[in-house]
């Protein structure tokens, strides 16, 4: 196998591609294992990737979150714009998070990139991203609502060097750590990301040694070509036409309600165009989305509806055309706030599915819980041990499908992070989880019903805690499809000593309460698929038997089939 041999047959390409995937797999595992924070270790809110020297994504680890794809691409674009190649040196590690200066999607997602050199020349980068549980700013967890500018959301990091030729830039790390809550934990997470960069670079060096840089570069290009061909062949099977859909976000938490998100999809042969004209202007609240996050939502939807196993790389990106007017909520300008962008991304995906459902009914699903319901608790641990910060995001319903019910109580679409065990929460934080279950009647009726939302009740023990949250689809129900009905909405409430629940805002910030009260978090369900009257009698019997639906609900939503069961 000679170094200059760049003629790669498809078999060798598959084997090389496997070798590259191995690099991202291993770096991904390295972060999971070495990180300190639960957000990364248990919830796997991180990603790893290999980029080529022009910043194109070649391989992303399989378990990576779809939304992370965007900020890695954005980072590379900004890195290459800012640093001339002569200033990118062996042993450097770059760090960045800013959505406007460094291509990020929100500040807690911290990106690292390390260049890989072969025979003295830049071959590409290994990158990774981890969602840090706090990046400073106004509210603990850096995810709360009520902010109107990015400056309030946390520390903004442009693309800078954290390592210079293998040496840690201590001053930089000092700045990074001074600006965040619980800095010891953040330091552990940075170390995990650094270790993953180094492991990735080491493994890339081994691949270079084995195959030679020319062959690898040729493989990079071929991988992208193959992926593009794969996606285009799937698009070709979509009937030509123009498909439009629109939905609204509840609000931005800062006075703007019913924010429209609209898309028009045009399919022509193997070309697909997505135009978000008609979407509302960017808002003061933190639910704005930068263009690269909107692109992520499009790639996610295409994979989900066409070919779930298609690799994530630049081949996907160059196969479709995506446009959105600048200054809208899906293509926000500086300095709008973006921390809650996952909620908007979920809604963009619902809208995309709604549009493509007209062309691909078998692959479509009812609207999902459309949120990334977030709950953050911050306080002083009365058992000693200083202040604590606990952030969780809750799943909800996943829409009904063409041949089966939706999923109950899961993270949907753009995110798939796991919950934290109740026993872990209570061992680590002075909090008690009183209950955790599915919400009856929350899955929209249908031939195949929508999934159910989750209800979780949390009480502080022996102290006062400060609660902040972020909810969506608290007013606008997740819609059903092809005759399926809408699912339930979510809500936050404060339960008093007498058991009465007092509703909280859907984007509450700084709610202080003590041990005689508890926060109730309820997440939205999802929409059903197909008309309820076509629902199978066995399924109806199971809905009743398990108590997932009340008799009253069944009588109202399945009247034709209600008797005799």
């Amino acid at each position: 196998m000679s170094d200059t041999d760049t003629d790669i047959d498809p078999i060798t390409l598959e084997i090389l591609h496997n070798g590259l995937r191995s690099v991202t797999d291993e770096s991904y595992i390295a972060i999971t294992k070495a990180a300190y924070s639960t957000n990364i270790k248990e919830r796997r809110d991180h990603s790893t990737a290999i980029m080529d020297r022009t910043g194109r994504l070649i391989v992303q680890a399989e378990n990576s979150l779809p939304i992370h794809l965007a900020s890695m691409l954005g980072l590379m674009e900004c890195l290459l714009a800012k640093f001339p190649l002569a200033e990118v040196e062996e042993g450097d590690i770059f760090v960045a998070n800013d959505p406007y200066q460094a291509g990020g999607t929100h500040l807690p997602d911290v990106n690292l990139a390390m260049p890989i050199f072969a025979e003295g020349r830049l071959l590409g980068f290994v990158c990774n991203l981890a969602h840090h549980a706090d990046i400073g700013g106004m509210a603990p967890g850096s995810m709360a609502g009520g902010m109107s500018e990015i400056y309030q959301e946390g520390l903004r990091i442009p693309v800078v060097k954290l390592f210079r030729r293998g040496e840690l830039v201590q001053d930089m790390l000092d700045i990074l750590l001074l600006n965040v809550r619980v800095p010891e934990e953040r330091r552990g997470d940075y170390y995990a990301q650094i270790a993953a960069c180094r492991l990735g670079a080491r493994r890339m060096a081994e691949l270079v040694e084995r195959h030679g840089p020319d062959r690898l570069e040729a493989a990079f290009e071929m991988i992208l070509e193959r992926t593009e061909a794969r996606l285009r062949s799937a698009i070709l099977e979509i009937p030509d036409g123009t498909y439009a859909f629109q939905d609204v976000l509840d609000n931005d938490g800062m006075g703007t309600s019913d924010i429209p998100i609209a898309v028009t999809v045009t399919i022509s042969g193997d070309d697909a165009r997505f135009d978000f004209a008609g979407t509302g202007p960017q808002v003061r609240g933190n639910v704005n989305v930068t263009m690269n996050a909107t692109q992520s939502a499009v790639y996610y939807t295409l994979k989900g509806m066409l070919d779930p196993d298609i690799p994530n790389n630049h081949g996907l990106i160059r196969s479709v055309e995506i446009t959105a007017p600048a200054g809208t909520i899906v293509n926000a300008n500086f300095p709008s706030a973006v921390a809650g962008r996952a909620n908007t991304s979920q809604r963009i995906i619902d809208v995309l599915i709604g549009a493509l459902a007209q062309a691909l009914p078998e692959a479509a699903v009812g609207a999902a819980n459309g949120a990334n319901t977030t709950a953050v608790f911050f306080g002083e641990d009365p058992r000693g041990g200083g202040s604590y910060l606990y952030l969780e995001t809750l799943g909800g319903g996943f829409g009904g499908r063409a041949t089966k019910d939706g999923k109950d109580g899961v993270q949907v679409h753009i995110t798939n992070t796991s919950n934290l065990p109740v026993e872990a929460i209570e061992m680590e934080y002075p909090l008690m989880v009183e209950s955790y279950g599915l919400i009856p009647d929350s899955g929209g009726a249908g031939t195949y019903r929508g999934g159910m939302g989750l209800r979780r009740v949390i009480r502080p023990l022996g102290h006062e805690t400060v609660f902040s949250g972020m909810g969506e689809r608290f007013r606008h129900h997740p819609w059903g499809i092809f005759g399926g009905e809408a699912g339930g909405t979510g809500r936050f409430a404060l339960r008093g000593a007498n058991g009465a629940e007092e509703a909280l805002d859907d984007k509450p910030s700084g709610v202080r309460f003590g041990p005689d009260q508890a926060v109730v978090v309820e997440t939205p369900g999802a929409g059903g698929y197909g008309p309820p009257e076509a629902r199978d009698s066995t399924a109806l019997a199971a809905d009743r038997r398990g108590g997932k639906f009340t008799e009253d609900y069944m009588a109202r939503h399945y009247p034709a089939t209600g008797d005799g069961e």
């Binding site: 047959d9 498809p10 078999i11 598959e14 496997n18 070798g19 191995s22 797999d25 291993e26 595992i29 390295a30 294992k33 300190y36 924070s37 270790k41 979150l65 779809p66 010891e184 552990g188 270790a195 492991l199 193959r226 061909a229 794969r230 062949s233 994979k303 989900g304 509806m305 196993d309 699903v365 799943g395 996943f398 499908r401 089966k404 999923k407 109950d408 109580g409 899961v410 993270q411 949907v412 798939n416 992070t417 796991s418 919950n419 934290l420 065990p421 026993e423 872990a424 209570e426 061992m427 008690m432 009183e434 209950s435 955790y436 279950g437 599915l438 023990l461 038997r545 398990g546 997932k548």
Partner: protein, 682 residues
């Protein structure tokens, strides 16, 4: 005269390995499995073996059994109705799990449905807090109510899992006692007995799996015991556990979840034994069969253990040998994805229709077809196997792929093998990195029907320099059962900061584990000299939520101090993650002990060495290794090999249950235990 017999029930075959410690005689036997009633094949096979080899079954002292009863029951959904009782407010936890989807992008993929439907998931008003204190007592009236509800459910077994029962099991025990008194026929699994450790969902899932399997295992073991008693009245029965090591039939009825990986764990024990005889302590096993390959890392002569497993789509926390399955086997099918690239597996042609060359109706190209087309497998089929292979059919199955690629059939066949090897290597790498190892520091030990055939390719791609093929790679699991010891695992979950003032508390927990182990040794009548107790602590930095299992050596009277424990942890952290921070505070999450009662191991028979290192060559045939070039390879019968024989590749070593391939440049020698030791050429 006493026989020890290992019986491994696999999906396709039931394998026997019999050894007589008086005469040194060894016999192996293979018979088709009977999945509807696995005991039938075992008992009938035992009689056939006895008749054929003139064994008096009355002389069988021990029968060690690897069983797939548990996994089969899950696959076939044969379990009976299970009821579940959780802490009030948490009956949906079984269904919610970790609130994740099994595939990020696939709208249609789901986890299997919960084993207990919602109407049989009950709640009890009770609550224990993290420190073990009772926040809400489980009252008499509540117990009565729950007992009635369980009775009404008509369940054959019940799982009980309360929050923090691993810290304070009192409520679980109260309810268990009440249920036992009221419903004597009911089988009961409580989480504080099944797996008393932290993280409620995994503990719950494990407890429910156990309850689901209890009636199945009870039925199977009872029938098996009586059938065995009629045929071999002096044989003591041991059931192999997922962690390796045998347990009594009574224990298997209580904790059937521990048998979920019974067979593969026996393979690891057999591999450790074979590697030990070959003088190798650090080994990666590659058990490659028809549909998948199992991989396990053995370090310092011991298999790595894990406490996290997925069993047929359900998570389980149970001590098991850390075996990982890779979707790559002889039957794996080559196909084209939309991107025009060829993929191999995970879909497999299985036993039916099987690879195209079996002539049983298969038309898609498989790994076996590719091996045959390249001459790596004998057209006569496995030696003595009696099943000829159809080369024309193999080539015909590969032809469409070759045409699509614009390559020759031979190059396409090389590609199929290259890709299946790349898949295995990627999985092997991920597994080793996850455990903090570099696979290049290990020796490869292939077994199963297809392991030795691909060992040289895998070793090359991994950068491993040597592989060892045991004498009977096709029945290594049954051999492993013969050399298995008795064992039992204990765990105590107690979050304890590692600081000097807690040394007393740590000593108390360790002493309690040791006492439980002593009681077990006594109950199993393990003689003092044969007892071994090893302690592992799950430790982490405070703030981390992921523990490292840190082995702190044999447990004895003197509990180790904080300094020694920290040093163990630092070393483990360094190994797994490449760094450690000596200043950061550490805590212990779980205390684990594994008690082993060493059983007398049959000595290895001595075999006369070869007079001449040149191995007898049976024939020659052309074999393609790389770049489409055929080499005239020596074909050697394994049975003709003696200690000291040497072979230089290209060569093919054929035997009843496997084929070993030597690439040009590979060098083989046979050791005293008849292992093939192969140095991989460069």
């Amino acid at each position: 005269m006493a026989w020890v017999i290992g019986v491994d029930v696999g999906g396709t075959f039931t394998d026997f390995h019999a050894y007589d410690d008086a005469s040194g005689r060894t016999h192996v036997h293979k018979t088709p499995s009977t999945p509807d009633d696995p005991a039938r094949a075992v008992l009938a096979g035992l009689e056939t073996l006895a008749a054929a080899e003139d064994i008096d079954l009355a002389d069988v002292a021990r029968l060690s059994h690897g069983t797939t009863v548990a996994t089969n029951a899950l696959i076939q959904g044969r379990g009976k109705r299970v009821a579940l009782v959780t802490t009030q407010g948490f009956r949906d936890l079984l269904e919610i799990g970790r609130q994740i989807r099994p595939h990020m992008f696939d709208f249609q993929k789901d986890y299997p449905p919960p084993l207990v439907p919602r109407e049989f998931r009950l709640e009890a008003a009770e609550r224990v807090l993290a420190d073990g204190s009772v926040y809400r007592a489980l009252e008499e009236g509540e117990i009565t109510r729950v007992v009635e509800a369980v009775r009404e459910s008509g369940a054959a077994s019940v799982a009980i899992c309360f929050l923090f029962a691993f810290v304070n099991p009192a409520h679980e025990r109260m309810l268990r006692d009440a249920l036992q008194a009221a419903l004597p026929a009911l089988e009961i699994s409580i989480s504080s007995d099944v797996q008393p450790e932290f993280r409620e969902y995994e503990r719950l899932s494990t407890t429910v799996l156990n309850a689901y399997l209890q009636p199945v295992m009870t039925g199977y073991v009872s029938a098996f015991e009586s059938g065995l008693a009629r045929r071999a009245p002096s044989a003591s029965l041991g059931i192999n556990q997922s962690a390796g090591g045998l347990m009594s039939p009574a224990r298997a009825r209580e904790l059937p979840i521990r048998t979920a990986l019974s067979g593969p764990a026996a393979g690891a024990v057999g591999a450790i034994h074979a590697a030990g005889l070959a003088g190798e302590a650090n080994v990666v096993t590659l058990d490659m069969g028809g549909t998948s390959a199992d991989v396990c890392m053995i370090r310092q002569g011991r298999a790595e253990m894990t406490f996290e497993r997925w069993i047929e789509g359900y998570p389980a926390r149970v001590a098991s040998v850390d075996i990982n399955a890779v979707g790559a086997g002889g039957g794996s099918i080559a196909w084209f994805a939309r991107d025009g690239l060829m993929k191999v597996g995970p879909r497999s042609a299985g036993a039916a229709p099987g690879p195209a060359c079996y002539g049983q109706g298969g038309t898609e190209p498989t790994v076996t077809d590719a091996n045959l087309a390249l001459g790596r497998l004998s057209p006569a089929g496995l030696l003595g196997g009696g099943m000829a292979m159809d080369i024309a059919a193999a080539r015909a199955s590969l032809a469409p792929a070759a045409e699509r690629l614009g390559l020759s059939v031979e190059r396409t066949a090389e590609g199929v093998i290259g890709i299946v090897v790349a898949n295995m290597v990627r999985a092997l790498r991920a597994i080793s990195v996850e455990r903090g190892h570099d696979p290049r520091d290990f020796v490869l030990l292939p077994f199963g029907g297809a392991g030795a055939l691909h060992a040289s390719d895998v070793a090359r791609a991994l950068g491993v320099g040597r592989f060892v093929v045991p004498p009977a790679p096709g029945i290594l699991c049954a051999k492993g059962l013969v050399v298995s010891d008795l064992s039992e695992s204990f765990v105590a979950s107690s979050l304890t900061a590692l600081k000097p003032e807690n040394e007393g508390e740590i000593a108390v927990v360790l002493a309690d584990l040791a006492a439980r182990a002593e009681a077990w040794f006594a109950a199993e009548a393990v003689p003092a000299a044969a007892r071994e107790l090893r302690v592992t602590l799950d430790m982490r930095y405070i703030g981390q939520n992921y523990e490292l299992g840190v082995e702190i050596g044999a447990a004895d009277a003197a509990a180790p101090g904080v300094a020694a424990l920290s040093a163990h942890f630092f070393a483990a952290h360094e190994l797994s993650y490449g760094y450690h921070n000596p200043e950061d505070p550490i805590e212990i999450v779980n205390f684990r002990a594994r008690a082993v009662g060493r059983l007398e191991r049959p000595p290895e028979p001595e075999i006369a060495p070869a007079a001449d290192p040149a191995a007898p060559v049976a024939s020659h045939r052309p074999v393609i290794f790389a770049d489409g070039v055929a080499h005239e390879a020596e074909v050697i019968e394994r049975t003709a090999l003696r200690p000291g024989h040497e072979v230089a590749g290209p060569a093919v070593i054929e035997q009843l249950d496997a084929t070993t391939l030597l690439h040009p440049g590979d060098r083989l020698r046979v050791d005293e235990a008849l292992n093939l030791i192969v140095e991989v050429g460069t």
